[in-house]
Symmetry: C2
Amino acid sequence: MGLDDRKLAVLRAIVEDYVSTQEPVGSKALVERHQLGVSPATVRNDMAVLEEEGYIRQPHTSAGRVPTDRGYRLFVDRLSRVKPLSPAERRAIERFLVGAVDLDDVVHRTVRLLAQLTRQVAVVQYPSLARSSVRHLELVPISTTRLMLVMIADTGRVEQRLVELPGPVSADDVTDLRRLINEKLANARLSETPPLVQALVEEAPTLLRPTMTTLATVLLETLVERHEERIALAGTANLTRGGLLDFQGSLRPILEALEEEVVLLKLIGETEPSTTRVLIGDENEFDNLRAASVVSTGYGPGATIVGGLGVLGPTRMDYPGNIATVRAVARYVGELLAQN
Amino acid sequence: MGLDDRKLAVLRAIVEDYVSTQEPVGSKALVERHQLGVSPATVRNDMAVLEEEGYIRQPHTSAGRVPTDRGYRLFVDRLSRVKPLSPAERRAIERFLVGAVDLDDVVHRTVRLLAQLTRQVAVVQYPSLARSSVRHLELVPISTTRLMLVMIADTGRVEQRLVELPGPVSADDVTDLRRLINEKLANARLSETPPLVQALVEEAPTLLRPTMTTLATVLLETLVERHEERIALAGTANLTRGGLLDFQGSLRPILEALEEEVVLLKLIGETEPSTTRVLIGDENEFDNLRAASVVSTGYGPGATIVGGLGVLGPTRMDYPGNIATVRAVARYVGELLAQN
DNA sequence: ACTGGCACTCGCTACAGTCGAGTGCCAGGA
DNA sequence: TCCTGGCACTCGACTGTAGCGAGTGCCAGT
């Protein structure tokens, strides 16, 4: 497939123009706005080739060209440089850092920041429990037969669960249980807890055995099975920018997809370490999101990844800019987490 | 203003037809679909009066009539009976109850249930801290100079905050602090804590005074000032039902409003005890929501109200149905909370 | 007080005509 | 061999016109 440099330049120009104007771009306009050094007719020939190869297409016969998903892919992979952030953006990111008092706060600020900077829908995954370690487990007596189990992870996440005990326990019992549980589980990675919890039951003093069994069940449920992931979302109003042109006139499928945590997790959660992932159009697995693209990356203190974050918007988005912003925000959040 | 029974019946018929068909309703169609016992011409005369009084209007000269906000208001206040729930709806509500394991879970299930039943946007406020009491305050040592402060409210809400201490504290110190704090604050209503926290500092042993001062600051911040309210949202995709007819073609302002917690709180939070509140069109104070209506009510264990919940949709909504659903859900949630 | 009849309004749809951006192709030139 | 200018063609967007029909307001009659 003969894609020489000029054809690539033409593709790049088409993507850039289309992203900024949102209108199909024709050969004449192209040579006027970019220094391609050739005539419109030549560009037309190149366009014909690009179309044949599936990188661009014509919405209707006598209109300009529009990039296809494949065209965006080539653009992202080979034709674009990551834009450096503007000083204003850097300032905005730094400013958001100060004053965050806890994890909830950090996540909420981050997701709003991302939405504001990229003008897209922003998604931030809370630090995944699977990738966290237990810092402390607390048992708070609520009544004689009820405990509140509070788990604090090293990432700052706190999960709690009410536990109905099989029988009454004394304050001393609670102290013993707390000690036993923490001795066994503190600093363990959550993904490795099941056997430890099992051991906990087996090694428990006979008197506390039934209580410990109940606790163990809840522990496993809370820490491993349920609630595993949480998500914050912001900027849905940005979907309405660009009128009804993006998303072929209906936000319905997009909004539906955004309500499903599972979907969002798949989109931003499954990211390989320290790579920025770009999913364009139907590259993602959800029919509802065929008209959308996602830019996401992992974040975490230091080099480890504890969660994902990213933005979602129309395929016609500013990829270089969004990639730069997502990366920068992820790095800053990582630093922030490292401080704790 | 002479609104005799028949005119009211006409208004009711107009509202019902318009809500279900979404099209301006004319005099002929009206007499066909409802047993009004009079001719179209008579209905037209009545319509002219209703229009003069501001209850209905014509989108354009030769179209049918559409209710105004004022018309909906009259309909809600005087012309509609609350619809009894269908057995299917009752079953759905009951089914959602089982298996809720903690407050987060209850709130999320509730908001999704509401969205599903009403096919509108659902909003649920977490139990307000201002209306809760302290059940327990826990101090968890993270390092020698850092504590995690965990507050458990009687409504099941748990708030946590990392506290940076002025100097190192021992495990015994922590135990003392925990005891002092709980002695003073347990079972206190959160709105009444400020003087108690003040007393806490003044009565603290000299050695613990600086630490207690820091804790007091964070306590006040966490319990009273910050994070006071939380909100869960679901069903935004329902806004796209009815195509672009509702909300005059742009979801933008609605989506923007839904992103502001403050706005949502005003809408569903300020509700008088055990009344269902209906805000129609521009009766609410936000310009962005002039095309929307809100049905909300308070909920809580027993007769007390600890938070609000409701739905938001186009002014053209099924008020009787939504009012019934909102009330029923609120009652069920209240019962659920009472069990804990 | 209600009804049937009638003239009128006006948005909606269909259709025809024009305009123009953009294309594909081809013959000629570097 | 590759590029260019020229030219015929396509087709969507826009405009103007005409007919249709739902719906109205008014009025005279019961």
